[in-house]
């Protein structure tokens, strides 16, 4: 059952969106988020939605996959929508007790819900089209400047990629431990939430112990392969900006700047 979990979902493909440098895509997401938070009117939202739709189209990620990405945050979206709908003061259209719906409330609710949905789906486009390794590579290079102020950028990126590498291994191990416990009569399905949480303890203890042992062995194996930190490391597949990366970034900057300018001039 745990095998169904996919983290950092990546759909391999060969579109322009897949071939773009991960740094470009990361920067694009930052621009996109800035644009989303600056968008305020029908026109600017329209621009952002159009930008999102173009990106989704280019990356050939199915609508279903994008909508599925919204599932975990469905509750937050509903909550935000309802709160804004009922509790925004303004020109009341309907009132019942302390609940009221105002014209401004409707506008606010629509805006907030759209913003969250676009935010989630947009960032999902990034993880759908970029493999975890390239993503961490991109992050390491983008944040490289922070090394000057002693932020351990390489170490953080290495930790992230090792964590990603061990997710399937640990999931497999969890499955094994659960089967072993079930074979000896452990019950993980019945009972209330408290009981279920308590039943997890006998799984977590061996899982943690083995994770520490793995970490120990991995550290020795890495040392044996001459790992000595990020200094002087080279890459098998170094990141390189291509012409398409510059053009994509220019487009991103133009769209975001456009949205900000439109907002300034009151559109």
């Amino acid at each position: 059952m745990l095998k169904d979990i996919t983290l950092g979902q990546y759909f391999p493909g060969d579109t322009i969106a897949h071939r773009l440098d991960p740094r470009t895509k990361l920067l694009l997401v930052v621009l996109y988020i800035v644009g989303l938070f600056c968008a305020d009117s029908v026109l600017t939202y329209g621009v952002m939605i159009a930008a999102f739709l173009i990106c989704a189209r280019v990356s050939k990620v199915g609508a279903r996959a994008l909508v599925r990405g919204l599932k975990p945050v469905l509750l937050i979206i509903l909550f935000t929508g309802i709160l804004n709908l009922f509790f925004t003061p303004g020109d009341y259209l309907w009132q019942f007790g302390f609940l009221h719906i105002s014209r401004q409330g409707i506008a606010m609710a629509v805006r907030m819900v759209l913003r969250i949905m676009l935010l989630i789906m947009g960032t999902f486009l990034l993880t759908y089209t970029t493999s975890p390794i390239r993503l961490t590579d991109g992050l390491e290079r983008l944040l490289g400047g922070l090394k000057k102020i002693h932020v351990p950028v390489h170490e953080l990126a290495m930790m992230m990629s090792i964590a990603l590498r061990f997710i399937p291994t640990l999931i497999e191990e969890t499955d094994k431990i659960m089967s072993a416990q079930k074979a000896r009569g452990a019950d993980f399905e019945s009972g209330n939430l408290f009981h279920k949480a308590k039943a997890l303890i006998p799984i977590l203890v061996p899982l943690f112990i083995s994770a520490f042992r793995r970490a120990d062995e991995l550290a020795v194996a890495m040392e044996c392969r001459c790992y000595h930190g990020g200094e002087g490391r080279t890459k098998l597949n170094p990141l390189k900006y291509a012409a398409r990366d510059y053009w994509t970034l220019v487009c991103g900057v133009v769209v975001t700047a456009g949205v900000i300018a439109l907002g300034r001039f009151g559109f």
């Binding site: 493999s131 975890p132 390794i133 990629s161 090792i162 990603l164 590498r165 399937p168 291994t169 497999e172 042992r213 793995r214 062995e217 991995l218 020795v220 194996a221 890495m222 040392e223 044996c224 392969r225 001459c226 790992y227 000595h228 002087g232 490391r233 080279t234 890459k235 098998l236 597949n237 170094p238």
Partner: protein, 282 residues
């Protein structure tokens, strides 16, 4: 032939974990010289010190007394640490715990990346290493979807990419099924034969020692026996006293001899054993 690994009165002890406990002495004076290009199997039962010995070969563990030299470099010399580790590659028991990346070729590239090898050269080494272990077609695969034997061959490729002179396999076959074990063994033999890489194979499977150039038997932190497989395995009684079983072929020959058949004891491989038995019965 020149010596690649040399230990002199090598001693090592694991410090006590809790107060009041005694430190565990793992190695009590090991003198060993391993010649370049040979295939050496180190045998011993659990706790004989064979894995500890392996870990002193590339400065993962430093001697408490005595010394270990890799091509003349002392392993306590910190300035030469990377040189030593580059020359002596190490493969461990659990393949899952030594694979760093979730793409095969990226994992094989890990060591050359650490050594600061230029990109084009890394590409060449990765391709050569994957070819040498017969895993070239899996370059883009995710390691966790491979079989145990395949994972272990990836781990070997990751070590070969350093272009070492010596590979130490520390119980690298212990967790594998018979097919996987065979894959790893034949890979090690091929590397030894074709590339002249010195192989030190640590194991407790007697059968893996059949084709070795030399067998070293460890017991209680010391070298108990040292010689060619033929010399070692014919000393059946001694091996049994050390808590080791002899290979099935030797066991069979030994029993038939006790029953009065005229047989040699040093027919180690199955074929040689069958021939010997057939000849005796004729």
């Amino acid at each position: 032939m020149s010596t690649i690994l040399e230990t002199e009165n090598l001693q090592y002890l694991y410090p006590a974990v809790e107060e009041g406990e005694q430190a565990t002495v793992a190695l009590r004076g090991v003198d060993l010289k391993i010649e370049k290009g040979t295939f050496v199997v180190v045998l011993g039962h659990n706790g004989s010190g064979k894995s500890t010995l392996a870990k002193t070969f590339n400065a993962i563990l430093l001697p408490a007394a005595g010394s270990v030299r890799v091509e003349g470099m002392d392993t306590t010399d910190e300035a030469r640490l990377l040189d030593i580790r580059r020359k002596v590659g190490m493969v461990f028991q659990n393949p899952d715990n030594q694979i760093v990346s979730n793409v095969v070729e990226e994992d094989v590239a890990f060591a050359p990346e650490n050594l600061g090898v230029p990109t084009a050269e890394i590409r060449r080494r990765v391709d050569t290493a994957l070819g040498a272990v017969g895993m070239a077609e899996f370059a883009q695969h995710a390691p966790h979807l491979l079989s145990g034997g395949q994972k272990q061959r990836i781990a070997i490729a990751g070590v070969i990419a350093m272009e070492p002179d010596c590979i130490v396999l520390d119980e690298a076959t212990a967790m594998l099924d018979p097919t996987g074990r065979q894959e790893v063994l034949s890979t090690a033999h091929r590397l030894n034969r074709e590339k002249g890489i010195t192989v030190v194979l640590i194991t407790h499977h007697m059968n893996e020692a059949e084709d070795a150039d030399r067998v070293v038997v460890m017991d209680n932190g010391k070298v108990a026996m040292d010689g060619t497989p033929q010399e070692i395995f014919t000393r059946v009684e001694e091996l049994r006293n050390l808590g080791l079983t002899v290979p099935d072929t030797v066991d069979l020959l030994d029993r038939l001899r006790r029953d009065g058949l005229e047989l040699p004891l040093d027919a180690l491989t199955v074929d040689a054993c069958a021939d010997a038995v057939a000849a005796a019965l004729r």
